[in-house]
Structure formats: C-alpha cells, structure tokens
Symmetry: C2
DNA sequence: TTTTTTTATTGAGCCTGTCTCAATAATGAG
DNA sequence: CTCATTATTGAGACAGGCTCAATAAAAAAA
C-alpha cells in the first residue's frame, strides 16, 4: 500500500504557539465531550501533534483542564470588571452581573458545563487554582453586595456571602435545567426573573407596601388640607 | 508459603441480599472517593465478592451509581413528604424544605457531593432516571410555591420554577463552599439566612413596609376623623 | 441418598485510556 | 558545514472497566 497521504511532518514551533494550539484544541474537545469522555489522544490529534507532546507541555490531563478553565475565567473576570465600571447603583450592578453571567453561560454552554460539573467534584488538593479563580470571580458580586449594605441600598441584616451563593447557585441551577430539558436559553428573560425574585423577595407584600401606602398618605394629606382650610376660614 | 488465611469461600446468597450488599458497598466507596476515583474492584472487595459478580447484578459502573442515587433520593423524597404533611403555611413549609435539605447535606456530605458533581455532568442519554428523581424531589418545593402564589402568600408575579432553582441552587452553592473551605456546616444558621434572603428579598424596604407604619397611618386617620367630626359638630 | 439440573460466582484476560521514556530529528550557534 | 540543544516522537507500561467460558453451590429430580 502507498504511504498515507496525510502523513504529518515533524516541525518545531515556538513554545508559546504550540502551547496555545494544544490549549485551544483541549478547550474544544473538553467543551464538546466533557472531561471524562475526552481522550488526550484526540486533543493531540486536533492540535496536530502526538500524545506525548501534550504531556511535554502539560503535566496531566487534569492540568490541561485547569489551564482551560483558567483561561476562561480570566476572560470572564476582566469582562465583568469592565462592565461593572460602567454601571452605577447597587441594584443595576447586581442585575448586570446576573445578566452577564447568564449571557456567558448561554454563549459557552460546553465550557460552562465543564466548570459546573468537573471543577467541583475533586476536592482533591490540587484544585486550589480553580477555587481561587472562582473566589476572584464571585468576589466581584460579593463586593457589590457589601457596598450595597454599607450605602443602605440593601437590607442591613443581609449576609453578603449567603446572598452571593443564592445568586450564583440560582443561575447555575436554572441554566442546568434548561440544558437538560433541551429548552433554548432565554438569557434576558431568565435574568429578569432571577433578579426580581432575588431583589424583591418572594413573599407577598402587605398592601401598604407599594402604591396603597402612598394612597393612604395622599388621603391623609387631603384630609389635613381640608382641616386646615376650614380652620383658616374661621 | 501457606495458603492465605483470609481466603474467601464461594457462597450463594439470595439475589436480593447480595444485591443489597453490593449496593451498600458502592454507596460507601462512592461517597468516600467520588465516582471517578472509585474502582469497581474495591466495591466488589468490600461486598465480599469478585469484580465479575458486580457486573452480574449491575450492567455498568454508571448503573451502580444510578442505583445508589436512586436509593438516596427515594429516602429523601419520602422524608420530605412526611415532613411537609406536618407543617402548615407557605412560609413555614418553605423554611422546612430548606432546613431539611441542608440537614441532609450536612449528614451525608459524601453522597451529596456525588449527586451534585457526578449526576449533573453527563447529559448523556441514560440519565433520564436521575433527572426524573430530581424532578420528583424538587417538585415538592415547586408545589409549595405554586400553592403559595394561588393562596396569596407569595407575590402574584412570581415564577415558581425560577424560584425553585434559586432555592436549591443557593443551598448547593452554600454547602459546596463550606465543603471546600473545610468550615463545619451550621445547617440551622445557614437555613435561616437563606430563607430570610429568599423570602424577604435583599433590597432595603421603605419604612412603611412593616406593620408599624400601617398602624401609624391608621391612628392618624382616626385622629383626623375625630377632629373632622368635632368640627362638623359646631 | 444419589444424580441431575440450574445458575450464582469466579478469575483470566481484552480493551481503552493515561502517562513515561529513550530515541530521533529540527533548529540555532559557532 | 558541524555540533549542541531540545522539541517531538512512538512504543509500551500500567490501571481500570467490562466480558465470558468454566466452575461449583444449591435446588430439583430420581
């Protein structure tokens, strides 16, 4: 038989570029298949190298995963930081964080599934790196919450860390459900619903809380005016 | 050398019992090591059988996982149902669900980590079973929410499904974080904080919101009426 | 009791996938 | 052009999931 037409020639490339190529390939393969199902051999093939080469750049399959996640998180963090710089007011800032997070999930479903599913399991020692990235990212929202409590926009008895968990946990759950059921993800609508529930709470308010209270005040003011005008008449 | 002292004799046991033993062993091993790290051989050893036997009872390692989760979920569901039967009022019922869920997580951390981490990843076809269990379980809270909207205890514009995600997602996130940081889990305190934030919302309320204001308005209105009637007397 | 049938249980071994390492050849320096 | 450096390779060690023909314990039949 003739030699295979697609024979790969051995070429040397600058370390940085080859590493980037492998990382890019890993990102794709992991996102498509998940961590467990992905084979390092396939990552290698897609990067145009042989399996051994991958291990010359990354210590293990898991190290490759962490590198992929790190890259993703760094992007997410800097985007969110930039965004927060342009939005004013605690409520608006929270709505922005929720909306942006949801948009990102919708756009990069594969990667996000990876993070939700694969990052968490191994409480194994080495995931310090991932925990730290997560802390940095969710720390952005945490600071908005703390600031809100300080400046009086948020309830003074609020526990910011618990609220942050409610926020991110809620998003993840909602997204995951929509992934499972296969329903298309309506990021904008979902963001609004989540924000409304979180910000305003879910309990029905006593009627006086919204407009009714104003109405009562209005009635009082009118009554008093009536009194005043009468008394002034005398 | 002498024959090993711990040589196992081949014994036949009733199907149901052997299956239960294997399941029990799997539950322990999975909970201790997580799915990926656990070896079927170890499950077998702990159940006092050989690897092949495990496969005579369960089709695959994953089927074993699903069986373990099924058993756990069934217990959780029936406990929660029983509990809900004894608690009245939407707010109390929600607080109960949150509290009970947190208690269970605290008590069975290993298994819960398994569910959070291993169940979710594989959107792979066969997890219908798990999805269904999850639906049944979280359906309990969903029904409480829907009922609350109907009877006026909860905001009429609430989206029950989104609220359910906020509820369970928030719990999971909070627990997971405490697992990671190694902090002991204060189920009671955390349950209260989560319930408060979810029920009441996080925004600061105008002072009029809590009953005191209503009472004040009422007193004012009465006083003015008294005044008015007096003046009418003249 | 003895013989036969049934089937739970075994363990050797196949297969896929991660990871290692000595050999190889592409590149840059002298 | 030659040599030294080191990126790249590919064969294979090792681990873990899973299969299957052989085996023997229990039940049924004689």
């Amino acid at each position: 038989m003739a030699a295979p037409a697609t024979q790969r020639r051995r070429t040397r490339r600058p370390r940085a570029e080859r590493e980037a190529e492998i990382l890019e390939a890993a990102r794709t393969v992991f996102a498509e298949q998940g961590y467990a199902a992905a084979a390092v051999a396939e990552v290698a093939a897609r990067a145009g190298v042989v399996e051994g080469t991958v291990y010359a750049y990354f210590d293990s399959k898991r190290a490759l995963l962490i590198a992929v996640m790190k890259q993703f998180y760094e992007e997410l963090i800097s985007e969110t930081e930039r965004g927060l710089d342009t939005v004013r007011g605690t409520e608006n800032r929270l709505r922005f964080v929720i909306r942006h997070h949801l948009d990102t999930f919708a756009r990069e479903l594969g990667l996000c599934r990876l993070i939700v599913s694969e990052a968490r399991p191994d409480v194994a020692l080495y995931d310090e790196a991932i925990l730290d990235l997560n802390r940095r990212y969710t720390g952005l929202a945490l600071r908005v919450l703390e600031e809100g409590v300080r400046n009086g926009s948020l309830r003074s008895d609020l526990v910011p860390s618990v609220t942050r968990d409610l926020l991110y946990g809620g998003i993840e759950h909602a997204v995951w459900r929509s992934v499972f059921t296969g329903a298309p993800l309506d990021a904008a609508g979902l963001a609004d619903q989540l924000s409304d529930a979180l910000l305003g709470g879910i309990l029905a308010r006593p009627v006086t809380a919204n407009g009714a209270a104003d109405a009562a005040v209005l009635r009082l003011e009118r009554a008093i005016e009536r009194l005043e005008s009468r008394m002034g008449d005398e």
